[in-house]
Symmetry: C2
Subunit: 257 residues, 2 copies
DNA sequence: GCGGCAGATTTGTCATATTATATGCTGATT
DNA sequence: AATCAGCATATAATATGACAAATCTGCCGC
């Protein structure tokens, strides 16, 4: 009988993840998946390299082969692993990883501020969010606009309280993408949300460097409410410029890798 | 002992999927995952609805509980399912689905031409591919440009041979995104590639409606080779306009849903 | 040199038992 | 009547052991 499972890896319920939508860690196999996933994203196990065989690895992790196999299936579903009889289970080449998966992206940020990953993320956001805002301005329903306004007001009320302002900020961006009516953009939104949450998770523990640009958010809101696509687009561009500066400052202050 | 596993669902090795990168169907649990995944995306099992319990469902599918559970883990990893003791396994709300996952998107197209899904896809492509081309024009290495040229030439040679021209076309777009150096864009590319492959899979079986726009591709190639970001961007915009017309024609001809 | 065959290794699948967890009910308590 | 603790129950979660299937390796015969 096993005494300690997953030795040295307790779940800290106090961890802030700001409600990010990631694979559940309630279950044992979920914990194993996260653990191995983080190792892969950190580069501890390089692409092409094989995991120990199931018998050895399950013993090493103090879990049954069943739990380990289910964890492996989760990671394989995200493109990280590939199993074959006799050959074993190996890490797939990086271009097979589904970086758009919220978990994968969260694991990429798990170690702390990551300048290269932040840059990728900003590039994507700068490509998408202005166009998305323009679409939202054209298509948002009254109730969606009302929800957006509520999220903005929550940000105003939250002020400097990071634990309240960050979720409101994330909510705002998610609602914006939802207003486009395009499900792919919505999924892209939760992916980005998770990545930002993973980033903020570290940031809120350290010195405060993140300042949410309220005026820019208000400009976006009002443009969408007015149905002005062009104004919404330019407002989001300004918002992202502001955010980029803020995050760069923060990353520079916290052992930027 | 079981005679026929997964009754009525044989794997057709002759199916054309144009090398799309999806979860392996070699294994039994992989087949089960695809089968249930398609059912969910088709709407046979609505969000909020529960699957039969593991004992019943595994018996119904003629597989062991183990295989079924591993399939469920794959689907849960993609955000489609959620399992809890006592409650059972239920389909999550649609906004939790990771539509950016190649498998999920492929299942969305599995039934045949899907006008709504095609529209989503085009919207996304029109947002990011022009920007990606501009980035590629700035950053592509000599060898990447050379690869792009090879892919284009393969398209030229292929001509009307769909089985050769479509893979070359997909390769071209993938290489373009790879040239941006942004891993998120690359993943986005394989997602789109899979979706297009799923679409083409049907199309190549029916009457020919897809015509690859060679001149537009050549314009993109030359702009990138010349390092002209603006030209690359406009060339891609024209390319997508052409593609949109072509697909719309095709969808209209084949029981457009 | 080469093709194929035998053996060994590893994942894949199965069956079964036990445990953990969530849910709803029941009945006591206020 | 409402609330809450505890109990029963259904279900997934985990563990274990056995066997099957795949596939790589190297040897053997030619």
């Amino acid at each position: 009988m096993r005494e300690t499972r997953l030795a040295g890896r307790q779940i800290h319920k106090t961890d802030k993840n700001f409600g990010a939508r990631t694979y559940s860690t309630r279950s044992l196999h979920g914990q194993v998946a996260h653990q191995i996933g983080e190792r892969i994203l950190r580069g501890d196990i390089a692409p092409g390299q094989s995991l120990p065989n199931e018998a050895d690895l399950s013993e090493e992790l103090n879990v049954s082969r069943t739990a380990l196999r289910e964890a492996i299936k989760v990671l394989a579903a995200k493109g990280l692993l590939e199993s074959r009889p006799k050959t074993g289970t190996r890490v797939r080449s990086r271009d097979n990883w589904n970086m758009l998966d919220p978990d994968v992206l969260a694991w990429l940020f798990a170690d702390g501020p990551n300048a290269a990953a932040s840059e990728m993320l900003f590039e994507i956001r700068e490509i998408f969010e202005p166009s998305a805002a323009a679409m939202a301005a054209t298509r948002a329903s009254k109730s969606q606009i009302s929800d957006l306004r509520s999220a903005y007001e929550a940000m105003e009320v939250a002020g400097d309280d990071i634990d309240a302002s960050i979720p409101a900020d994330l909510k705002f961006h998610q609602l914006l993408l939802a207003s486009t009516g395009n499900e792919l953009l919505i999924s892209l939104g939760s992916m980005i949300e998770t990545a930002l949450a993973a980033n903020f998770k570290v940031s809120s523990a350290g010195p405060r460097g993140i300042v949410i640009a309220l005026p820019q958010h208000k400009a976006v809101l009002e443009a969408i409410a007015a149905g002005d696509a062009v104004a919404a687009q330019t407002a989001v561009i300004e918002l992202l410029q502001q955010a980029r500066i803020s995050v760069a400052t923060f990353n520079a202050a916290n052992n930027n890798t």
